[in-house]
């Protein structure tokens, strides 16, 4: 009896203990096994040397690659009165001018044909937001009542809805270029490929034409953007898959540039004759000069460039890598000196 009482008491005590006593787990006792890395000099110095070496290596590779990229830039703004395009600078009529240039050695292919604009703020907020993605996705409901984001490019003076509406579409770059190669005194047109210049997802998924054939019927009761010479469904009448909203020139323009000085891909030179590149020789660039940049002191240029695995020519990356790599190496040397001196001090 007495015994059992005591046992009961003990059991009770144990129960009480277990109910009140904090859990003895690694987590509750803040004793989770932990890795305590120490960035000691003996690890960091070799690490820095390695990183430095790797960076310098990459940097040199980048630098060489970038240096090997060929670039042909032609400013055709025509600010200079000597310039062939000077006449077109303020001309509102259709105006064509041509520039000649020569390529001394083979311009390795594939060659990409860019146009560039400077002092052009495609990245302004209101400008960038001035479009209606629903229209561009082919939603006919928004053809007749475009989003007010497009103001003041929503409706024309007769209050007709504009498709595609908005400042971004309205200001689409509309200079056109032809490039001809002088072979034995004869101008041979270099075929330019207008495909594959925009992101694949843009012309396959993000932008859609309304599923009405012919396309023109979808645009009944709408107007073309005021600055456009022709409506969107006539951008490329030769190819259904490059017409309307999925016209790649249009898509390239619609992808806003990050900075006020930018270039955009215009054409690729992929024709069999020029697959290896543009051979050395004289070339003529004929420009249908439409796009006004004079009012905002902008410049227009054409850039011919080939690309490498790292993209277009850009010396920054290579130099930056070399600099950072060298910094690592220098730092590791400094650290080594500090470390050594400190160690000697300790030994004393």
């Amino acid at each position: 009896m007495k015994q059992s009482n005591r046992i009961k008491a003990m059991v009770k005590e144990e129960q009480e203990e277990s109910s009140n006593r904090p859990d003895n787990t690694a987590f509750t006792q803040q004793r989770l096994p932990a890795w305590q890395p120490i960035l000691s000099a003996s690890i960091v110095i070799p690490m820095f040397v390695l990183i430095g070496a790797a960076f310098i290596g990459v940097g040199v590779a980048l630098f060489i690659t970038s240096r090997d990229i060929q670039l042909q830039e032609l400013d055709y703004t025509g600010d200079d009165s000597e310039h062939p395009c000077f006449k077109c600078r303020t001309n509102t009529e259709k105006c064509t001018c041509s520039m000649t240039f020569s390529i001394p050695t083979l311009f390795k292919g594939p060659v990409f044909f860019y146009y560039g604009l400077t002092n052009y703020f495609q990245n302004q907020r209101k400008y960038g937001a001035s479009k209606d993605d629903n229209q561009l996705y082919g939603d006919l409901n928004y053809f007749t009542s475009p989003s007010t984001d497009c103001d003041p490019y929503t409706r024309d003076s007769k209050n007709m809805p504009i498709v595609p509406c908005g400042a971004l579409a309205n200001s689409m770059f509309n200079d056109t270029f032809t490039l001809s190669h002088t072979v034995n005194g004869v101008q041979k047109i270099v075929p330019l490929d207008g495909k594959g210049i925009a992101w694949w997802t843009d012309y396959n998924i993000k932008y859609r034409n309304p599923s009405i054939t012919p396309l023109i019927n979808a645009f009944n009761g709408t107007k073309k953007p005021t600055n456009w010479p022709k409506p969107i469904y006539e951008l490329d009448t030769t190819d259904v898959y490059n017409n309307g909203f999925i016209n790649q020139d249009f898509l390239v323009w619609m992808r806003r540039a990050a900075l006020p000085d930018f270039r955009k891909l215009y054409r690729r030179i992929t024709h069999d004759d020029y697959a290896a590149g543009l051979p050395a020789g004289n070339y003529t660039l004929t420009i249908a000069y439409n796009y006004p940049v004079h009012s905002f002191n902008g410049k227009k240029k054409v850039v011919l460039s080939n690309v490498s695995w790292m993209g277009g020519k850009n010396d920054f990356l290579g130099i930056a890598y070399i600099v950072v790599g060298s910094m690592c190496v220098v730092m590791s040397i400094v650290m080594l000196i500090v470390y050594a001196r400190f160690k000697f001090g300790e030994d004393d």
């Binding site: 960038g128 540039a257 990050a258 690309v307």
Partner: protein, 1133 residues
């Protein structure tokens, strides 16, 4: 303090009507008068804050009263109203999230309260109405109802005990849920009532409800047969409080006097005043800086925008709308300013508040969970009452500790006594029946004993003069046995000796103070056993095994002002005796002076040995004297107002002209590891002040024992004794002494270098300062105002230069005064008070951090504390380990949060310079929203919960490490500037790195170009990785959780970006990020620039970490170190 404050708070009602009248059983009294039922509130308890209807508006209102929430609401509203660059969702969603989470939490808590309220309110109770028992809901009880309560039930409201099933008219209750004291307390019925309550006709007049649990004054008028009403006094012993439990009593009946929200329990249900930690103040200061940065950024951008616009005319490709052209220029500027504010508002993140709150809340669990704080004796661990102050534990500079129960165990043992100047020490077990082993008294060299008569008188006094109860474990009474097994019973703590024979009666003592038990037990050792109190008769078993009975006439209770207590008893022979025991200083003036000197020596010697001494005196009362005292006492007890003062006056009148019999010495053992703890705390640079109500000698010896005073410590004494030396007026003497000590301790002390101000071993001289309550009040309230301020300053300066300070003879309020004095002194040092008793509550509430010891003196200290620990020794780990870690964690959390948002928003700011100040966001809205919520929140939260930059063992071993974080070291402006500079550096690197890359946006090998969203995404990717890796670099303690959240967050970012860019989201107006991330990853240049920029950003960090690494003897142990410790380690070497 608390009481005063509360009294002041609730005093308003009392001012108008001093008392309330209650008609017992709702019967008109006297019976012929018309009965007008008075209006009192019903017994419904409402602890909930909200109802279903007012929850939403009330809760929202309360949440938006917080400055931060309000700020975010304003930003949100601006986004809704003004045309801003980011959609309202970006700031609305996080705000909504925060508000919802808080509302849900508060709603849940309130629901729990509702549930608890309902349970209490719907509890069925028995009410006697016209002689019948009626069951009704607790909420329906009205004042004046007679309520019946059975054993183990909880009292439904505050009751006056009318009837008890026990024949002696008592009942036992426990008040565990009120003040945590689990011992049984005796309450008494109102004397001489009708046995049948149905015929009771009485009114009760009592004070208005007030929150003090231990105070009640009232008067009961009993009307019988149209005579003049009988009047009975009612005191707290008659009042049963709501929330207490009935024990050991079958049932009781009582009349409800306070109900519902007017019960003492409800009145005590008050939140404590909020304490704010130093870290929070730093956060607010930093916040202001960031607010300034934010506003100036917005201003700069607005200004530049208009400057830029004046140079750049409106371009043909981006014409303004008609509306824009018409808008007032200044209004446009203003909306532009607001837009920029919105664009940059992420620099002050909503999530920081959430993270800080979560860190504090979750972090505090580690204290509760710590098994080192578990005390097997009381079966309890540490308790966290507020999690707001975790980090403050790492910042303590001054510790104010109570002595009894905190430094010492409050486990009293009777050591010796002195009777008539002869010393008696109890031998070890082998003593004879008369139990006295006599050692040399200092007075008489010859071994001698006091007269047997005196001995017995002394022992009887010990047996009678107390308020101890005998606890009966077995209900059936048995004949007295020769042997007793004694059980100490203090706060329900039993020590079972375990060798009982069945018939023996277990017996224990219950008392409010352990001294009393020690004394009763001491008397028992010498042959006088207190058997208990039975219907006002105290029984004593004397040496001859005879039972003596004394009628207990009056108990003159102990109070801290008088510092003594007395009983009046009538012996069998009819003699009326008064026995008094109390502190020497309070007894000596009240006794005839001839005996004093002999005993004083004993008392002082005992006190220097660290014992607690009490003097015992007695006096014979003649019948007339007794009659007068009796009448006075009764009158005073009936007084409704100033009862205490009146009682005190009577007590003082009665307790005069006594004869001193002897003194006792009781040892209060030091707490476990008290000395080590104190040494560690001092080593950590904290100054320990002992504030005690005890005598100087006792306290001093405790200080020596704890190592607070060392052998070579020079003591500077400022007590009544030193003040009375020299024969001049106290004022002058005080002035001189203060100046002298100041010269010694402050002016002559070697100037300490800045870095080691808090070092104690450097100075050749250690000073200890001792001051007593009387001197302190002279210092604090000197006659003239300029003097007083000067004295205060001198006093503070002396104290601050002493290693330890002892303040003895302190009243509770004085303790708080000292804390306040130090708290408000120069530099606003962080103070910590630790104590275990009700007398420490005031200083616990006053200090920055209040710590309660779960000791033996009840639970008030614990209830009012911020943290409670079972033992003093736990303080070491609480401060040195937990406090240190919490501080480092939260400091890093705060700095990191500001840093990561600075480098988040800086690129966005810089981008404005390249986009014509058009408020174009650099990042997509999803990134803006998710950055703080998802991508970077978890790693820092995990860090701030788990980081141990130095492991706990090392922290405990090297207490000096605590000094490294002293004075808010990790949140100083210098470090804040460092972090800010780092943030700016990173922001610049991110933005311009990508900017140079984009000088040719053809970044893919297919010649296609990237647009502005690709730009932002690259910057954002670099940002997320750098910020997370920066934290990884700072993490010294990688548990699997850290690994999981750090790598998990990065993986989640990548996953989310793919997901976000992989689908055409129908609810989005613009599919900005469609395939941007995937396209970015297809570009080698993007990869290379991301790697480059991350490394470049982290390079200086890595370099710093390496160079900061400690070397030397401690290097192995202190593997990883705070930013400051390396320097200190070197200094120490």
């Amino acid at each position: 303090m608390l009481r005063r404050r509360l009294n002041r708070l609730f005093g308003g009602d009392e001012g108008r009507v001093h008392s309330r009248t209650i008609y017992v059983g709702h019967k008109s009294c006297p019976p012929n008068e018309a009965y007008i039922p008075p209006k009192f509130c019903d017994n419904r308890i409402v602890s909930s804050k909200y109802t279903v209807w007012n929850f939403l508006p009330k809760n929202l209102f309360e949440q938006f009263r917080r400055i931060a929430n309000f700020y975010f609401l304003i930003i949100f509203l601006v986004q809704v109203i003004v045309d801003t660059p980011t959609s309202p969702v970006t700031s609305g969603l996080p705000l909504f999230f925060v508000i919802t989470v808080t509302a849900v939490k508060q709603g849940y808590e309130d629901w729990l309260r509702h549930k608890a309220d309902r349970e209490v309110n719907e509890y069925r109770v028995s009410v006697l109405e016209d002689g019948r028992r009626i069951r009704k809901m607790s909420a329906k009880i009205k004042v004046g109802d007679i309520v019946e309560v059975e054993e183990d039930e909880t009292f439904p409201c505050d009751l006056i005990l009318l009837q008890s099933s026990r024949d002696d008219g008592t009942c036992f209750v426990t008040t565990a849920s009120l003040d945590g004291e689990s011992n049984h307390k005796t309450h008494y019925t109102v004397a001489d009532l009708e046995s049948d309550l149905q015929y009771l006709s009485a009114t009760i007049e009592c004070e208005q409800p007030q929150p003090d649990l231990y105070k009640f004054v009232g008067r009961m008028h009993i009307y019988r047969n149209s005579q003049e009403p009988d009047v009975r006094s009612l005191g707290p012993e008659n009042l049963l409080l709501k929330g207490a439990n009935l024990k050991n009593t079958q049932k009781i009946c009582g009349v409800a006097v306070y109900t519902g929200m007017e019960t003492k329990m409800a009145l005590n249900y008050q939140g404590k005043s909020q304490k704010r930690s130093a870290v929070e103040k730093s956060i607010n200061a930093f916040l202001l800086v960031y607010l300034f940065i934010l506003v100036s950024k917005a201003l700069v951008c607005t200004t530049l925008k208009y400057v830029w616009q004046s140079k750049h005319d409106e371009t043909w490709y981006n014409e303004k709308t008609q509306k824009e052209k018409e808008t007032n220029q200044y209004l446009k500027m203003f909306t532009d300013f607001l837009s920029f504010m919105v664009l940059f508002n992420f620099i002050i993140p909503v999530s920081m508040y959430v993270t800080v709150e979560m860190q504090k809340f979750l972090g505090s669990f580690f204290i509760t969970w710590d098994k080192d704080f578990f005390d097997p004796e009381i079966q309890e661990g540490a308790l966290v009452n507020t999690s707001d102050l975790n980090e403050e534990l790492g910042q303590v500079e001054y510790i104010f500790t109570d002595k009894t129960g905190t430094l010492t165990q409050n486990n009293m043992e009777f050591i010796e006594c002195c009777i008539d100047g002869f010393q008696y020490k109890h031998g070890d077990g082998s003593s004879e029946l008369d139990g006295f082993c006599v050692t040399d008294g200092p007075v008489n060299k010859i071994q001698q004993k006091a007269g047997r008569e005196r001995e017995e008188l002394f022992l009887r006094a010990l047996c009678l003069c107390h308020t101890v109860q005998v606890k009966e474990s077995t209900k059936q009474r048995q004949d007295q046995n020769d042997q007793f097994d004694q059980i100490d019973q203090v706060d329900g703590l039993g020590l079972d000796h375990g060798f009982l024979d069945p018939p023996q009666k277990e017996m224990g003592f219950i008392a409010s103070s352990p001294d009393e038990i020690a004394l009763v037990k001491g008397a028992m050792r010498y042959g006088f056993t207190f058997l208990g109190l039975e219907s006002k008769n105290m029984k004593i078993l004397n040496r001859n095994k005879d039972v003596e009975t004394y009628e207990l006439l009056h108990v003159l209770n102990f109070d801290p002002v008088r510092r003594r207590m007395s009983v009046m008893v009538r012996s069998k022979t009819g003699d009326i005796l008064l026995f008094c025991k109390g502190a020497d200083s309070s007894i000596f003036p009240q006794v005839r002076q001839e005996e004093v000197e002999r005993i004083r020596m004993h008392v002082e010697r005992n006190a220097t040995e660290g014992y607690r001494t009490l003097c015992v005196a007695y006096k014979h009362l003649s019948a007339q004297e007794y009659a007068r005292a009796d009448a006075d006492l009764r009158e005073a007890r009936l007084a409704l107002q100033d009862r205490e003062e009146k009682l005190m006056a009577v007590y003082n009148r009665v307790e005069t002209d006594m004869i001193l019999i002897g003194a006792t010495a009781v040892e209060d053992q030091l707490q476990d590891e008290a000395a080590q703890t104190m040494e560690a705390l001092q080593g950590a640079g904290m100054k320990v002040w002992v504030l005690t109500g005890d005598k100087m000698e006792t306290a001093k010896s405790t200080c020596y024992a704890c190592g607070l005073f060392k052998k070579n410590t020079e003591l500077l004494e400022l007590t009544l004794r030193t003040l009375e030396d020299g024969g001049r007026s106290r004022e002058e003497r005080l002035h001189d002494l203060l100046l002298e000590y100041h010269k010694k301790a402050v002016q002559d002390a070697p100037p300490v270098k800045l870095g080691i101000t808090r070092s104690w071993s450097v100075a050749g001289h250690d000073y200890g300062f001792i001051i007593d309550g009387a001197s302190l009040s002279m210092v604090l309230s000197s006659s003239s105002e300029p003097n007083s301020r000067r004295y205060k300053n001198l006093f503070l300066q002396i104290c601050q230069n002493c290693t330890s300070v002892l303040c003895c003879r302190m009243a509770p309020l004085q303790k708080a005064q000292i804390v306040k004095l130090v708290k408000n002194s120069k530099g606003n040092p962080i103070t910590l008070s630790i104590g275990d008793g009700a007398n420490d509550v005031s200083m616990i509430l006053e200090a920055h951090v209040g710590i309660g010891i779960k000791g033996k003196e009840g639970r008030q200290a614990v209830k009012n504390s911020d943290y409670a620990i079972p033992k003093l020794k736990h303080l070491k780990k609480l401060l040195l380990a937990h406090g240190h870690l919490y501080y480092v964690r939260i400091a890093h959390l705060v700095q990191y949060f500001f840093y990561k948002n600075l480098c988040f928003i800086l690129p966005q700011f810089l981008y404005q310079f390249f986009c014509g100040y058009s408020q174009q966001p650099l990042y997509d809205a999803a990134y803006l929203t998710m950055y703080n919520i998802c991508f970077t929140s978890m790693p820092i939260l995990a860090y701030s919960l788990l980081e141990q930059h130095i492991c706990i063992e090392v922290l405990l071993e090297h207490s000096t490490l605590y000094r490294d974080i002293a004075k808010n070291a990790m949140l100083r402006w210098k470090l804040f500037l460092y972090w800010t500079a780092l943030g700016i550096f990173h922001g610049l690197v991110f933005f311009f790195g990508v900017r140079f890359l984009f000088s040719n946006p053809a970044l893919q090998d297919n010649g296609q170009v990237f647009g502005n969203w690709s730009y932002g995404t690259i910057v954002f990717t670099v940002l997320v990785f750098t910020v997370t890796l920066k934290l990884a670099l700072d993490t010294r303690h990688w548990t699997w959780i850290n690994h999981f959240v750090i790598w998990g967050s990065l993986a989640f970012y990548v996953f989310f970006s793919f997901f976000w860019g992989g689908i055409i989201w129908p609810f989005l107006k613009h599919q900005r990020l469609y395939f941007v991330f995937a396209n970015m990853l297809s570009s080698v240049s993007a990869w290379l620039v991301i790697i480059l920029l991350i490394l470049l950003s982290l390079l200086p960090e890595i370099l710093l970490v390496v160079l900061r690494k400690p070397r030397g003897p401690h290097a192995r142990q202190i593997a990883a170190v705070t930013p400051l410790s390396y320097k200190h380690l070197k200094e120490r070497e």
